[in-house]
């Protein structure tokens, strides 16, 4: 049984077919690299798996159970959390508010348990390796680096016990050292026994952390490789060949 399985997913926008019968799955405690060129259908697929919009046709199963009408709220309740490119952070607010955004710890009257939230934020930051004095619970997110912001978004997902974290192009626009930080966060997801879909068009970023690679091309899953089977160079050659239509 897979953690998540999508069967025969179709989606079109007007006359444009974004997905044409995609079969895709993620196993327990597995990092899947979802790769493909721009326009391959990666974003459409993850938006369907996150409940942002429904498929035209196809079925989604989570822990073996068929999910009817998957919404963002329902996905979150199931433990599917997506960290979009925009990271869903409110950057002029402090870190502790961002970690608990939309899921604040409150008393019955709705008043925030501020010290508890700050304490939990501090603990969480330490567990993901943020020991810098600049990254305190009161730090304003705007002043953090791109990698640190991505870390905050991933940490937030981990804190709320996400079973499956979907990362949408998490390394776009980041420097080498920042990218390395993000890759460490992805490893942390695996170490915690959770699963992850890492969407990227940069194979060099996803190769070191993924267990399996699924290649999307023009709305279809065209190839699947296990890490043991391919070296980075071989995988890179295969992707180039797929992009050229080979």
């Amino acid at each position: 049984m897979h953690l998540l399985e999508a069967r025969d997913i179709h989606k079109s926008f007007g006359t444009v077919y974004a997905l044409r019968g995609v079969d895709f799955h993620v196993n327990y405690n597995e990092i899947v690299g979802l790769v493909g060129d721009n326009g391959a259908g990666k974003s459409t697929l993850i938006k369907i798996l996150s409940g942002v919009f429904p498929p035209d046709r196809g079925e989604i199963y989570f822990k073996g159970e068929k999910i009817k009408k998957l919404t963002v709220q329902k996905a979150r309740e199931l433990g599917i959390v997506t960290v979009f490119q925009e990271r869903a952070l409110v950057e002029r607010q402090p870190l502790w508010r961002n970690i608990f955004l939309g899921r604040e710890l409150t008393n019955k009257a709705g008043f925030l348990k501020v010290s508890e939230q700050k304490m939990e934020t501090e603990k969480l930051m330490k567990t993901i390796g943020y020991t810098s004095e600049a990254v305190t619970p009161d730090a304003i997110v705007k002043y953090m680096s791109g990698g640190e912001k991505q870390g905050v978004a991933i940490a937030r997902a981990l804190y709320f016990n996400a079973e499956l974290i979907i990362l949408d192009e998490p390394t776009v626009g980041l420097s080498l050292s920042e990218t390395q930080k993000v890759l460490n966060f992805v490893k942390e997801i695996k170490q915690r026994g959770k699963s992850c879909i890492f969407i990227t068009h940069n194979i060099y970023h996803v190769y070191p952390v993924a267990d399996r690679f699924v290649v999307l091309d023009r709305g279809k899953c065209v190839a699947e490789f296990f890490k043991e089977e391919v070296t980075l160079d071989v995988l890179s050659d295969k992707l180039i060949a797929i992009a050229k239509g080979g």
Partner: protein, 336 residues
């Protein structure tokens, strides 16, 4: 040698920690500190310019009688501004609240019912603004400019431009509670302080306040995290509407007369107080403390200029200058 080195090192670490604490404090409270310093400077300036006027308690009573009205309005609007919108209708909503209060009073002579009626209509007017902005999608400046004219028009049509006397409220408990005095302290000042505490708790320590900041900061991020911007912005408008009608009721009780123009003069002054308090119009940031102090600063300027012998014509000029200078100072401090 080693001991000396450790002592020196520890001292230097301690200095760094203190310096870093100060830096954090400055970063977190830049706005409040600048506004407070500006207010303090202004008080000193008027004390020097007009020591005789500012040594009389009557001057302070005058400021503290009127400025709390501006402060309550400004604090209400702060919720809307932090949520990333603007409210230009609160002056007319103040008039509407006062009108409904007066009508219920004239019909029933029931203080509680009149107060609830006045506040309720303020909340409805706020909710209407929220619906126009969030559900129908009208730009808040245009939507609330429209409702500002609409509510004033409703009042004018219903009253045909005539006021109503509320002399018989003079000895009521409600009037005493809202605009009476404890010793020499006007109760409206105490209300403005009590509301500041309540509003501060809502904006800074309640889930709703957290969502207001989030929606004003980045509406899409807030939405992705399951926050409903329509609900949040409507709540902000309701708070502004209730605050406005509360001020309308208080000012009517203070004057013992309902005038169809009630609330008209507050529009620019209350907005000026919000911006003077360092609250930027873009949303996501802003403090109630700034709005509160901004209101009292404007009260000081108004009274201070007259006490210092300037004509009323100078008031707007100095208002404008103070707002621009304070915003420049705020920008400069933020850059540093």
């Amino acid at each position: 040698m080693n001991i000396r080195f450790f002592k020196k090192n520890n001292k230097s670490n301690l200095n760094n920690v203190i310096l870093s604490k100060f830096k954090n404090l400055w970063k977190s409270f830049t706005l409040q500190l600048i506004v407070s310093l500006a207010y303090f400077g202004l008080c000193m300036l008027f004390l020097i310019l007009s020591p005789s006027a500012f040594s009389k308690p009557a001057t302070y009573t005058s400021i503290l009688t009127v400025a709390p009205f501006t402060a309550i309005l400004a604090m209400g609007i702060t919720f809307v501004i932090v949520s990333g919108e603007i409210d230009l209708s609160f002056g007319s909503v103040a008039g509407l609240g006062a009108y409904i209060f007066t009508q219920i009073w004239l019909l029933t002579h029931n203080e509680t019912l009149s107060l609830i009626g006045g506040l309720f209509v303020g909340s409805l007017a706020g909710a209407l603004n929220g619906i126009l902005v969030t559900k129908i999608g009208i730009i808040s400046m245009i939507a609330t400019l429209g409702t500002n004219f609409f509510w004033r028009g409703v009042i004018m049509v219903l009253t045909e431009g005539f006021g109503s006397s509320l002399v018989d409220t003079k000895d009521t408990f409600l009037r005493y509670i809202l605009v009476g005095k404890v010793g020499e302290i006007p109760n409206q000042l105490l209300w403005s302080i009590a509301l500041f505490i309540l509003f501060w708790l809502i904006l800074n320590r309640h889930k709703i306040g957290s969502h207001i900041y989030a929606v004003g900061d980045n509406i899409e991020s807030a939405r992705m995290m399951g926050i409903n911007p329509t609900k949040v912005k409507t709540i902000a408008y309701i708070i502004s509407g209730v605050s406005a009608s509360f001020v309308g009721i208080m000012s009517t009780l203070l004057l013992l007369t309902f005038w169809p123009s009630t609330g008209e003069g507050y529009l620019l002054v209350a907005l000026a107080a919000v911006f003077l308090g360092g609250n930027p119009p873009g949303g996501g940031v802003g403090t109630l403390f700034g709005s509160l102090i901004g209101s009292f600063m404007l009260g000081w300027i108004n009274t201070g200029l007259i006490a210092a012998g300037a004509t009323g014509f100078w008031t707007n000029l100095v208002y404008g200058l103070t707002i621009i200078l304070s915003i420049i100072a705020y920008k400069f401090a933020k850059k540093r």
